[in-house]
């Protein structure tokens, strides 16, 4: 873990998101703030539908194109403002920021071999890269994620490889251009538990070695505890608690976080249950643990 003074690569402040037409909107994010410092591993935890996935997608500028999404607030990444999407953030995708998806097999195009897709990934880092050079780098990247026969993997279609294999391919693609930030959206939830654990370990090791910051989106508290330095808990579009992993698991203070943690032992694997009861206590104001303020707030 790097010193907390490292510069943030991603700073989201007062992010609000509405879906729908201009007149008819449903707000799904009600002003959330978070930051990720260089080399840091931050988790965003919440139930499905809490808004954690859209937050990551907004930060990459993936949703802003649609006329049905309306985002306000601020998303600073890599020295640019990305709240309204646009070219600058698009140029950084696959290059300065990359993403790993829930189901690696469906995240790879079934009608193209891995080779072609990998070439285009490398091209988003270096537009003039030649095919043979790209293939050489792709093979090296695949070897690094312990894929036994990189050439053969490159010549395969995703449906010919196992889920674990595809997850490794995704990790190799994500890190191939040495991004500053990696978004991991419920990585490998579609895979079986052992394979999921293996690939998470691999991802941890590689990002640690390269100093890549990670924003892990998860509903699995077990994974979060293993993986993250710092944790944000999100509940229905609002942040409810923020602290270091140690603080949060030792001393959960928000009623929602407590309810979550209390529910863990009853279920296997540490997955987040859909809490049957919605307590009004869950809507209490956000709890921020000592030393965990947002950078801007601290300055003022």
């Amino acid at each position: 873990m790097l010193a907390p003074s490292a510069e943030p690569v991603l700073t989201i402040r007062d992010l609000r998101l509405g879906f729908g037409t201009r007149r008819h909107q449903t707000e799904v994010l009600h002003g959330i703030s978070l930051h990720v410092r260089a080399g840091e591993k931050v988790a965003l935890v919440g139930e499905s539908g809490s808004g954690k996935s859209v937050t990551a997608r907004l930060a990459m500028g993936l949703l802003q194109e649609s006329p049905r999404t309306h985002a306000i607030g601020s998303i600073r990444f890599d020295g640019i403002e990305a709240i309204s999407g646009g070219r600058e953030i698009a140029r950084r995708r696959g290059n300065r920021v990359a993403m790993i998806f829930q189901d690696p097999t469906s995240a790879l195009n079934p009608t193209f071999r891995i080779r072609g897709q990998f070439r285009d990934v490398l091209r988003s880092g270096d537009r003039s890269i030649r095919d043979d050079e790209a293939d050489r780098r792709a093979e090296a990247a695949l070897a690094e994620v312990s894929i036994p026969d990189p050439k053969r993997a490159l010549d395969s279609y995703a449906f010919q490889l196992s889920g674990g294999m595809n997850q490794r391919v995704m990790i190799a693609m994500a890190l191939a251009n040495r991004p500053a930030l990696l978004m991991a959206d419920e990585p490998g939830t579609a895979l079986d538990v052992t394979v999921q654990a293996q690939t998470l370990g691999l991802m941890h090791e590689l990002t640690e070695r390269r100093g890549t910051a990670v924003l892990l989106i998860s509903h699995n508290l077990g994974v979060v505890r293993e993986f993250a330095d710092r944790v944000y808990v999100i509940y229905r579009g609002r942040m409810v608690e923020h602290g270091t992993t140690a603080q949060l698991f030792r001393d959960p203070r928000h009623p929602y976080t407590r309810a979550l943690l209390a529910a863990i032992p009853k279920i296997s694997g540490g997955g987040l249950p859909d809490l049957p009861e919605r307590s009004p206590d869950f809507d209490q104001p956000m709890v921020v643990h000592e030393g965990c303020g947002e950078p801007a707030e601290r300055r003022s």
């Binding site: 990459m60 993936l62 006329p67 698009a90 140029r91 950084r92 995708r93 696959g94 290059n95 990359a98 993403m99 998806f101 829930q102 189901d103 469906s106 995240a107 790879l108 195009n109 079934p110 009608t111 193209f112 897709q117 285009d120 990934v121 988003s124 279609y157 449906f159 010919q160 995704m170 693609m173 978004m183």
Partner: protein
């Protein structure tokens, strides 16, 4: 696609083909009126009618007649046209190439214009180019081929005369020696580049008119299939990895969307074989149409049956080719076949 599945496909096509022969045979025999009398006209003598009935086995029970018909068919004999007084096969061999050439060029026009319109519509979904593309596609689908023929002729042949409106070649262009019957090929075989260009020039308006409805259908299908693909996780991955939107539209989202489109394009080609009749009439195209309409008006029994059978066969062959093509384009099918 492997040989077993092609074989199965051919088998199914054969069953349908037999069905079609029964259908068209039944239509020809069950309809009211004495086919021999209709064929020979009101001035023929009773002896002539009787002779024709005997020659065509018209007095035998229907199954026997059908059997005789099949026997002849297996020898490649489709009977004799009363209109041209030649074997029907000779007539079809003469007129079919011009029709097929027109249809094939139209199919190329359909794909070359329909796919880009669909891709652009999907890419700019909900915005101006999409609205425009959808409107063009809808109007293209809603307008019969002969209306396109008349409109194109009027605007690009008369009001702004930049294209020829009749026939396959100019009077001054020498007709190349008959090799395949396809003018575009025959002119090239003859080494006559000018004649080739002239033939191509004459194809512009009729091929466009014939392509229009398939073109609209192709654009609509491409659009809707691509929009479906755009919601797939792998397209999100491609966007998240900085693939350029143009490259996603023309390559990564296009290929998966094209596979289901391709199947329907086979059907559109079939419809073209029928609509060619309309376009050929507008443009005085010397294809199967003039012959077909003529034999229908003259109640030329064998010629009608032969023409319908040939067109149905062309349709079935086309569909089998499309199936094979789908197998080539879709890696899942191709690889499964490679293993099996």
């Amino acid at each position: 696609m492997n040989w077993t599945s092609i074989g199965k496909r051919l088998g199914a096509a054969l069953v349908v083909m037999i069905g079609i022969s029964m259908l068209i045979f039944a239509i020809a025999r069950v309809m009211p009126g004495d086919p021999a009398r209709i064929a020979l006209g009101p001035n023929a003598t009773a002896e002539q009618v009787a002779a024709l009935r005997a020659e065509r086995h018209l007095d035998a029970p229907l199954p026997v007649q059908y059997f005789e018909f099949l026997k002849a068919l297996s020898r490649g004999d489709l009977g004799k046209s009363l209109y041209t007084n030649r074997p029907v096969t000779t007539d079809i061999a003469q007129f079919l190439p011009a029709t097929l050439e027109l249809c094939i060029v139209s199919a190329i026009v359909m794909v070359l214009l329909g796919l880009p319109i669909g891709i652009l519509s999907a890419h700019f979904r909900g915005r101006m180019p999409d609205h425009l593309g959808r409107l063009v596609a809808l109007i293209a689908v809603c307008t019969p081929a002969f209306v396109w023929g008349v409109i194109l002729q009027l605007f690009f042949g008369y009001f702004w005369p930049i294209f020829p409106i009749e026939g396959q070649l100019m009077q001054s262009t020498p007709v190349p020696p008959h090799v395949t019957g396809f003018l575009l090929i025959d002119t090239l075989v003859a080494g006559n580049g000018a004649a080739f260009l002239d033939a191509l020039y004459h194809l512009v308006l009729p091929a466009t008119a014939l392509a229009m409805s398939g073109l609209g259908q192709c654009a609509r299908l491409t659009r809707s299939n691509m929009i479906e693909v755009y919601d797939k996780p792998y397209v999100e991955m491609e966007r998240a990895y900085g693939f350029r939107p143009f490259r996603i539209a023309t390559r990564y989202a296009f290929r998966p969307a094209f596979i289901p489109t391709l199947t329907i394009l086979g059907l559109e080609f079939a419809a073209m074989l029928g609509n060619a009749f309309l376009v050929e009439k507008v443009f005085g195209w010397p294809g199967l149409s003039r012959y077909g309409v003529e034999v229908i008006i003259r109640k030329d029994l064998d010629a009608i049956v032969g023409t319908v059978l040939i067109i149905a066969a062309a349709f079935l062959i086309m569909n089998i080719l499309v199936d094979i093509l789908v197998g080539v384009v879709n890696p899942r099918i191709r690889l499964a076949a490679g293993r099996g």
